[in-house]
């Protein structure tokens, strides 16, 4: 074939693709500038910075009252755990994950199923400390990546769902399992594992996106002879698992991932010391896998306060100087702002009514109160093991510099061996808008229960989220006033709404228990 013919053939293939509407080619350059194509939702957090902010504004404060459901997708398998995956939308196709590890591609305009892929997994897959579900896929070039519950990374053809390759990340027999979304950057796919509550050693891996060959691995807790081992009092470090998603700064070439709690979770007598690098944020060189810096939020955690919340990258002025920042609303109840090039502590403040620390010192280390160590008879502590925030993602609105987080005001009675939750009737939840550079609360929308729903903000001046009784709602981004809600009536829905557009029409989609539902203006 000569060059001209090759070009013609390519043009025909491309034309056929666009006629069907599903081109399904997302090169790295498109991921880098995801904010320029708000009709797509290309990464877990909408962009590498995990802003969960969309530039779409057809749906806005003035017209959101006319938002109506336009389609519902019922999951293929009725049994199993609730849907938790953030949909990825590219070129009119939506990629969802049905628990535990089934990837399904839908027509984003109609909710019709295009293809579905399920891994063959043993019946006795181990996932202690996790749920048998999944947070979503990553897309790069023409491939969709999923971490499976039995701890494999699979690469699927984005157009057909055909398996390109699949590799074992770590042994499921050693309690490693995956529910996290992969992160796809230039030529590589990054993913961590869960299982730290059963002594799985926390790790983060990078794989060649084309071949599945492992490029690097970093462990989050040291072996006996490695730096940080002195913070375990002679014990071998365990836990610190990287069971949620991360963020990426292409200029610094650093990926940012939070780590889980040390194991065993409670008591802590067997592991005296700070237990590095558990309950920390790690900045890791994306090419070499070397740790650039770490910041530990909860030294010597004994409350199961994993620090795997989504790190949000943003640039802002602090004390008159432009800074590259990373913010994280931690499970321990504090909101932190760090310099994302150095890990330096910039600011921090509680975002719930925590009662275990007097505050943070000038390095950001918590000043623990005596009540941090639970009495054998029990100590009432806020937050509970489920935390002030858990895996659900916050949103950052660059237009007003606000950070929207679903906050959980739920205490538990802790003892040295475990905890019991307070009744739901003495707890509540709230969507809270924090000034991103300080953590100061600007407004809140109160809900009767702590919720498990991520937030989404848009250029339409809206914040979308949901509550624990299944109401999906839109708030005024400047005041927190309720502008629209739709009852989806489910207990404990665990959702992450996103927005996209097909044919110029804006949609908002959210899962609830067993369905995905899309909404558009009536």
């Amino acid at each position: 074939m000569n060059a001209l013919k090759r070009v013609l053939a390519l043009a025909i293939v491309m034309a056929a693709g666009s006629a069907a509407g599903f081109a399904q080619n997302v090169p790295y350059q498109r991921l880098l500038s995801a904010d320029k194509t708000p009709q797509d939702w290309l990464t877990y957090g909408g962009d590498y910075q995990s802003h969960r902010f969309s530039g779409l504004k057809e749906i806005n404060k003035a017209d959101v009252a006319n938002l109506r459901p336009v389609w519902i997708y019922q999951r293929s398998q009725a049994a199993g755990e609730f849907i938790e995956a953030t949909p990825i939308v590219a070129d009119g196709l939506m990629y969802i994950v049905e628990p535990p590890s089934t990837v399904t591609a839908l027509d984003a305009r109609t909710g019709m199923k295009i293809w579905s892929w399920s891994p063959k997994m043993a019946k006795d897959v181990k996932y202690i400390g996790l749920h048998a579900n999944n947070r979503g896929v990553a897309i790069l070039d023409g491939t969709v990546y999923i971490g499976t519950l039995d701890c494999h990374l699979a690469a699927l053809d984005a157009k057909t769902g055909a398996l390109r390759w699949m590799v074992e990340v770590e042994k499921n027999s050693d309690n490693h399992a995956i529910s996290a979304n992969p992160l796809a950057i230039d030529g590589e796919v990054i993913i961590g594992t869960g299982g730290g509550d059963r002594d799985a050693r926390g790790l983060l891996d990078a794989f060649d996106a084309k071949t599945g060959k492992r490029l690097w691995r970093i462990y989050t807790v040291p072996n006996k002879d490695e730096p940080g081992a002195e913070t375990w009092g002679g014990a071998v470090g365990n836990g610190g698992d990287v069971w949620n998603g991360g963020s990426y700064d292409p200029e610094l070439n650093l990926v940012y991932y939070g780590t889980g709690n040390p194991s065993p979770a409670f008591g802590g007598k067997t592991r005296p010391g700070d237990n590095l690098y558990t309950c920390s944020l790690l900045a890791v060189d994306a090419t070499t896998g070397k740790m650039k810096w770490y910041f530990q939020f909860t030294p010597h955690d004994i409350h199961d306060w994993d620090s795997t919340q989504i790190p949000v990258l943003f640039d802002a002025s602090v004390a008159g100087k432009p800074r590259k920042l990373v913010a994280l609303a931690n499970r321990n109840g504090f909101y932190y702002v760090l310099d994302r090039a150095t890990g330096e502590f910039v600011a921090g403040a509680p975002y719930i009514s925590q009662n275990w620390a007097k505050g943070l010192d000038d390095k950001g280390r918590p000043i623990k109160l005596p009540s941090y160590d639970p009495a054998p008879t029990g100590t009432l502590t806020n937050p509970s093991t489920s935390g002030a925030n858990n895996w659900t993602a916050p949103s950052y609105d660059p237009e007003n510099n606000l950070f929207y987080v679903s906050a959980r005001e739920l205490s538990a009675v802790f003892t040295p061996t475990g905890s019991n939750f307070q009744s739901g009737d003495s707890a509540y939840g709230a969507i809270r808008a924090l000034e991103a550079t300080t953590g100061k609360m600007k407004w809140q929308y109160r809900m009767i229960a702590p919720a498990w729903v991520s937030t989404l903000s848009t250029a339409g001046g809206l914040v979308f989220s949901g509550d624990d009784e299944g109401d999906f709602f839109a708030l005024d981004a400047d005041t927190g006033k309720l502008l629209w809600s739709f009852p989806m009536s489910g207990v404990d829905p665990r959702d992450s709404p996103v927005t996209y557009a097909v044919g110029g029409k804006q949609y908002v989609v959210i899962s609830s228990i067993n369905i995905y539902a899309a909404f558009a203006l009536h």
């Binding site: 749920h131 739920l410 905890s419 009744s423 739901g424």
Partner: protein, 262 residues
């Protein structure tokens, strides 16, 4: 068949006493770790109950194999999920741990005569509000099978102080402290109409109350002048007029209501 059942029972007991094929007993520390990770958030650290019921005596009542089967398969229609990923060895470790917890919170303190208790139940109109095996009124909880969940002395306390220890609703999953069931509310509408009732459903914006006559009231919170919780209150009258013996007998009868065969 009865003989076979007895044989199987004996066989299981023998297998339990002998431990695993290597001659070790069940590993209690692993059982505790597993229990703390998977069970304690609902059943409490000492298995005396929380979101889920007290299960301290489940192994003693149902046997180890049946208990393990429940853990593995869950209880459909309740908040008890299936822990299908646990191995048989891990299941037995958990069961052994539950056995080792004993009956720390609730023993069989109250002793009474269930037959005499049934007469007390009938004479005091309990069936006006409670269903047993399909028969009775529906304002209060169905008591069919309650004896599998709650021991006699707990029931006796409930009889004396009905609103004092309301159950929490079961949830699927592991984490949150869910709602108190049968919680009383007093709602006043904008036109001054007061409604007192048990919460049947509630969301951030809405609430459904059931009044003493069993009527549902579906209320939009924004339309109410006030909405107050009445913690500690119950439609059930406190059985203070009963003699000590009658209370014990009634508690013994209610505790004898084990789950009927389906």
């Amino acid at each position: 068949m009865i003989a076979a059942a007895v044989l199987i029972g004996l066989f299981n007991a023998a297998a339990f006493a002998a431990g695993d094929p290597q001659g070790r007993g069940p590993d209690l520390s692993t059982g505790k770790q597993l229990f703390d990770a998977s069970c304690s958030s609902c059943h409490g650290q000492d298995a005396s109950g929380g979101l889920g019921p007290n299960i301290q005596r489940i192994p003693a009542t149902l046997g180890d194999e049946a208990t393990a089967k429940i853990i593995k398969g869950g209880v459909p229609g309740t908040g008890m999920p299936a822990f299908a990923g646990l191995t048989d060895a891990q299941l037995m470790q958990i069961v052994a741990h539950i056995r080792s917890l004993g009956n720390s919170a609730m023993g069989d303190v109250a002793t009474g005569d269930p037959e005499k208790g049934q007469a007390v139940y009938d004479a005091n109109g309990c069936a006006n509000c409670h269903i047993v095996n399909g028969v009775g009124g529906n304002l209060g909880p169905d008591l069919t099978g309650i004896g599998s969940l709650r021991p006699a002395d707990f029931i006796r306390l409930e009889l004396q102080n009905p609103g004092g220890n309301l159950p929490k609703s079961p949830v699927t999953g592991i984490t949150i402290g869910k709602w108190t069931e049968y919680l009383m509310f007093r709602a006043v509408t904008r036109d001054g109409h007061a409604i007192e009732g048990m919460r049947t459903a509630e969301s951030t914006l809405e609430i459904v109350l059931e009044d003493a006559k069993g009527n549902y009231h579906s209320l939009h919170k924004a339309d109410l002048r006030s909405l107050e919780k009445e913690s500690g209150k119950s439609f059930m009258p406190s059985q203070t007029s009963l003699s000590d013996a009658d209370l014990n007998n009634l508690a013994a009868y209610v505790a004898s209501l084990k789950a009927a065969a389906q």
